[in-house]
């Protein structure tokens, strides 16, 4: 499917890429619309996987296949083929199957659930073979394109985890695509652990949890305050983020069960474990009071990792962003990048465009900056292809 011969990347090539890639505008935007309108909740990604599979097949990728974790992969064989580069995008969204996934296209903007996280990433993955063809770029390395499943919440990066545990090709470098925010440059990962504290009323025979009029709400509030105290003590090295509190369903019935979901983040791996132990003790102490039981389940872990500011890949990515006139924002990641770095694979996560209202029904992405995002991706891929990564 590819024509042309290998080209040495000229200085400033990314600037010309940006203009040339506008020729693929409708194809790319149509892929965003189609990827955006297919529901793909964590664990229910099958339809979006099928879409990517069709696109990979149409582009003539080799070995288009679905693995046991539901990931979809395809290979663009390299001119030499001694090395393998990975480009991945997670294909699950935070939205449920029944949410309205209609995409609206306006002048310079597209809006709809999940466009920024991560329909645009999926669309760019689907279009990448055509992008390289349009630019007549014939990589020496194999290019492995991967749509990963089950990245959010309890999914705990199961797709990428399975892939890395079973991939037959050693991966020499990797790039993770995220819809927003253009300029994002992630080359490190934080140590992270996620937990769920579940509080339940007992049988009611010993004490009545409804007597206070608050049910489990009181103890939930006390646990949140305890998390906050730990957060204030450990900041800024470590942080505790409370992501959700659930309890009750109306106005007059005290809740008999409730849950707090939280995430511990730290630059230090041992801090994550130490804070996790402290929270476990706090929960154990609370359990049994007022006829209530409290339990803690840790559902996800990441190890901290860092490519380093002076890594050639990081320097090149930063230089490309500067060339394109984009301010870079260094942001540690807790997503797929963490698993890649943990395996010693030089990897980056890059954003593709500007956007707003992430994770809201009116999530929106700007269309024009996407071409900057594509130019940066191609430039970084070419640098990876040169193999000067040590």
């Amino acid at each position: 499917m590819r024509k042309g011969t290998a080209k040495t990347r000229p200085d400033g090539a990314a600037l010309t890429y940006r203009e040339k890639l506008r020729r693929l505008r409708e194809i790319l935007f149509a892929n965003v619309v189609m990827a955006g309108e297919i529901p793909s909740p964590t664990g229910g990604e099958r339809r979006l996987t099928r879409f990517l599979s069709d696109r990979f097949t149409e582009c003539g990728l080799a070995n288009v296949s679905l693995d046991h974790a539901g990931n979809i992969a395809g290979m663009l064989p390299g001119r030499v083929g001694e090395r393998t580069l990975l480009v991945s995008a997670h294909i699950d969204k935070i939205w449920s199957e029944t949410d309205d996934h209609t995409v609206s296209v306006g002048a310079g903007i597209m809006s709809g659930r999940g466009l920024a996280d991560n329909s645009l990433g999926v669309a760019v993955l689907a279009t990448l073979p055509l992008i390289l063809e349009e630019l007549e770029i014939d990589l020496a390395s194999n290019l492995l394109l991967l749509g990963t499943t089950r990245s959010f919440g309890r999914g705990d990066l199961a797709g990428m985890r399975f892939f890395l545990g079973n991939v037959s090709h050693p991966i020499d470098a990797a790039l993770c695509l995220e819809g927003i925010e253009l300029g994002r440059l992630s080359y490190s990962s934080l140590g992270m652990a996620r937990g769920e504290i579940l509080v339940r009323a007992g049988s009611g025979e010993v004490e009545n949890p409804d007597e206070t009029g608050c049910g489990v709400a009181t103890i939930l509030a006390e646990l949140v305050v305890a998390l906050r105290h730990i957060h204030e003590r450990e900041s800024p090295t470590s942080r505790i983020l409370v992501g959700s509190i659930e309890a009750g369903s109306g106005y007059s019935v005290p809740p008999r069960s409730g849950m707090v979901r939280f995430e511990i983040r730290s630059h230090e791996a041992d801090h994550v474990a130490r804070i996790g132990d402290e929270i476990a003790r706090t929960v154990a102490t609370a359990s049994g009071r007022d006829g209530l039981t409290a339990s803690l389940e840790m559902i996800a872990h990441r190890s901290p990792g860092d490519l380093g500011t002076n890594h050639p890949l990081v320097r090149h990515a930063r230089g490309t962003l500067a060339l394109l006139g984009i301010e870079s924002h260094v942001a540690p990641s807790v997503s797929e990048l963490a698993l890649l770095l943990d395996r010693g694979i030089p990897s980056l996560t890059l954003g593709l465009t500007k956007g707003e209202n992430r994770h809201s029904p009116s999530e929106a992405i700007s269309l024009e900056p996407i071409f900057d995002g594509l130019a940066q991706i191609v430039s970084v891929l070419q640098f990876m292809d040169e193999g000067k990564l040590s």
Partner: protein, 328 residues
């Protein structure tokens, strides 16, 4: 009646398709080339800025860039006050103001006017009309309508229809049109043109037609254009000139009941005119052109009237400008 039932059943078997039958786009493009056909896609618009961009992107990407099935995508606009034309043009559609096409014949208000002028403006041997208000747009909304015309030379006119699964029982699912279809058009067809009842959604705004058919049809400029087409082509060519394709689902904005009344009034005008023209009824009185509705405010009832006159444009082939432009 057994003969009629058999004819309808046979037609449903041979001329009713599901879009999935035309999944092989490469084969469709090859067949189109082999047949030497050109295809134009026409989207009539009036203030459709919320949906037009997505339609253009999807059609251009899938049916021009990936698979060269469509030769031109044109938006024919009635004078939108929003950014419909700007957005359509920015994504690569050809955009036209209806009033600037054949201006010597004046400009009339109505969707049928845009469809009629498109015949003059566009170049395709087949014209596929697609409404601009579809939220779940997909390439099949055009490809699965032109496909029967490409594969079956005897078919002249292909209508879209959509499943509306209101209830499911004993493996039977009701298939039906919209509200105006079920309470007006289907009863009228049952009485006067029973074979046309086989068309599941006669008022669907998505259909593909050969130029040599379109250019010979008169065009009501308003609501009656689709019904008039069906009756006129049926009278000249019979049911076998038609086909229909199931496109599964269509999500669009719902019209208020008061607007449906206006639509029904316009359709009735065109339909009654045809009954008279074809000699199927005698001595119809002059029609009143004022549609009357009422709104209540407390105990007071106010009359709301609107003049609806289904003016008709003549067959395009009768215009010398058209014959010259298209070598007819």
């Amino acid at each position: 009646m057994p003969d009629l039932d058999q004819r309808i059943s046979r037609w449903l078997e041979t001329n009713t398709f599901h879009h999935s039958e035309f999944w092989d786009m490469q084969e469709l493009v090859r067949a189109k080339r082999e047949a030497g056909l050109t295809i134009s896609l026409c989207i009539p618009t009036l203030n459709e800025e919320k949906t037009i961009g997505k339609e253009i992107i999807v059609f251009k990407s899938e049916l021009m860039d990936r698979y060269p099935l469509i030769d031109e995508i044109a938006v024919i606009d009635s004078g939108s006050s929003d950014r419909t034309l700007e957005i359509a043009a920015s994504f690569g559609a050809d955009t036209y103001l209806s009033s600037e096409i054949l201006p010597q014949y004046g400009s009339k208000s109505g969707k049928g006017e845009n469809l009629w002028k498109a015949i003059h403006q566009l170049r395709g041997d087949i014209i596929c009309y697609v409404d601009a208000d579809i939220k779940n747009i997909h390439a099949k909304f055009a490809s699965a309508l032109v496909a029967p015309l490409i594969y079956r030379p005897e078919i002249q006119y292909v209508k879209a229809f959509y499943d509306r699964p209101l209830a499911v029982s004993d493996d039977m699912r009701p298939s039906g049109g919209g509200r105006v279809t079920e309470i007006l058009v289907r009863p009228l067809f049952s009485m006067f043109f029973p074979e046309l009842t086989a068309l599941i959604q006669p008022l669907s705004g998505e259909y593909a037609v050969r130029r040599e058919v379109l250019e010979r049809l008169p065009f009501p400029i308003g609501y009656g254009v689709e019904t008039a087409h069906l009756v006129d082509l049926y009278q000249s060519s019979g049911l076998d000139a038609f086909a229909q394709t199931d496109l599964d689902n269509r999500i669009h904005r719902n019209q208020p009941t008061s607007d449906l009344g206006k639509m029904a009034f316009g359709i009735l005008q065109g339909f009654m005119k045809r009954l008279r023209d074809y000699g199927m009824v005698k001595e119809l009185p002059e029609f009143h052109g004022l549609f009357r509705q009422f709104q209540a405010e407390g105990q007071r009832y106010e009359q709301v009237t609107r003049e609806i006159f289904e003016e008709e444009r003549p067959p395009m082939i009768t215009l010398p400008e058209y014959r010259e432009r298209h070598g007819r």
